[in-house]
């Protein structure tokens, strides 16, 4: 379980996260949804300890982020982390050398699944294929938790579908996943838990199936609490 407790993050005098608390369970897909600029990415960065928080606490399986707990979490940012001058194959080798949890077999499978070529330069790829490389690099890590920032953003509908498919095909059941999105459409049926964020505050947190029990879609709930 990833626990985010009363996290406050300020950039100068501007509060980006105002007392944010939520938990993401193992074996569940938790989706942070909000309009752009609401602090979603900052939350992921804070979990990964990439930005220092002003107050609050973040625990991964009851432990503060350490070198050991870091090995159990993979972060897929929305921009490619590896150098664009690398080929896909070189990026895979880089990841293999860098992470003990790298699963070469799964990486090769995903390469085939996405019909990507190892010799292609990352800088030469379309936006959709770049996103696929990003997803590949993340899903090929044998980790307990996977954080993905806007995995479906700004790419064509077919690439989105393929990524959603890879997501279900390669999602190990006991893995905990946190994704951020401002566009719920493609992932609506993959999500267990929804955390709605607005201006650095969590406005609602609910189970997707429970909303549907009341005859409401996730977007219906978003409309209720975000559009005033």
């Amino acid at each position: 379980m990833i626990e985010v407790k009363n996290v406050v993050k300020k950039y100068g005098r501007k509060s980006v996260l105002k007392d944010v608390s939520f938990t993401a369970q193992k074996g569940e897909v938790t989706c942070l949804i909000g309009i752009n600029g609401t602090g979603k990415t900052t939350i992921l960065n804070a979990i990964m300890n990439l930005v220092p928080i002003n107050s609050g606490e973040i625990l991964i399986d009851n432990q503060k982020l350490s070198k050991e707990s870091y090995e159990t979490v993979a972060f897929i940012p929305d921009t490619i982390i590896t150098m664009p001058s690398m080929t896909i194959g070189q990026a895979m080798t880089f990841m293999r050398d860098f992470y003990d949890s790298w699963n070469q077999e799964r990486a090769d499978e995903l390469l085939g699944f996405f019909r990507l070529k190892a010799e292609d330069k990352i800088s030469s790829l379309s936006k959709g294929n770049t996103a696929k490389v990003n997803i590949l690099l993340g899903l090929a890590l044998d980790v307990d938790y996977l954080l993905m920032d806007e995995p479906f953003s700004g790419i064509d509908v077919f690439s989105r579908e393929e990524i959603a498919n890879a997501f279900t095909d390669y999602l190990v059941e006991d893995k905990g996943v946190i994704i951020t999105t401002h566009e719920i459409g493609d992932v609506e049926h993959l999500i267990d838990h929804v955390v709605l964020i607005d201006e650095g505050t969590i406005v609602k947190s609910f189970a997707a199936e429970e909303a549907r029990e009341e005859g409401k879609s996730i977007v219906d709930i978003m409309r209720e609490v975000l559009v005033r």
Binding site: N165, D169, L190, E209, S217
Partner: protein, 122 residues
């Protein structure tokens, strides 16, 4: 299978209904093995937890059963199988009635059409 789910109804309920339809139509046979939860999640492109919940519901209704570590199987209990069929028919008729009622026609007016369409549909 590339199917779309209704966004305003629990996905597990939709999965259960789909299985009932397949059992009622004979597409799935009594005693037949069910796919594993993981397989079904991949096939339907939904969350494995949702499949888990659907299986739990079907087990609860007696539609499937599990013995030990074996894959779940469709029930061979005729009573349950008949009930499933009745339930689906009732649901469909209810939906039809609900759609037609506001138009204010008598049953006598729709009866011939209903019969004709029923007979011509394969």
């Amino acid at each position: 299978m590339n199917q779309t789910f209704n966004k305003r109804e629990p996905v597990y309920v939709q999965v259960v209904r789909q299985f009932k339809e397949q059992v009622a139509s004979g597409e799935l046979l009594p005693g037949q093995e069910m796919p594993s939860r993981r397989e079904l999640a991949q096939k339907l492109k939904i969350n494995p937890n949702t499949v888990q919940r659907a299986y739990k519901e079907m087990e609860h209704e007696g539609l499937i059963y599990t013995e030990g570590n074996m894959p779940s199987k469709i029930t061979e209990d005729q009573k349950i199988l008949i009930k499933v069929k009745q339930e689906l028919v009732t649901e469909a008729v209810d939906a039809l009635v609900k759609a037609i009622k506001p138009i204010k026609v008598s049953f006598e007016e729709i009866e011939p059409l209903l019969k004709e369409r029923f007979m011509s549909e394969k």
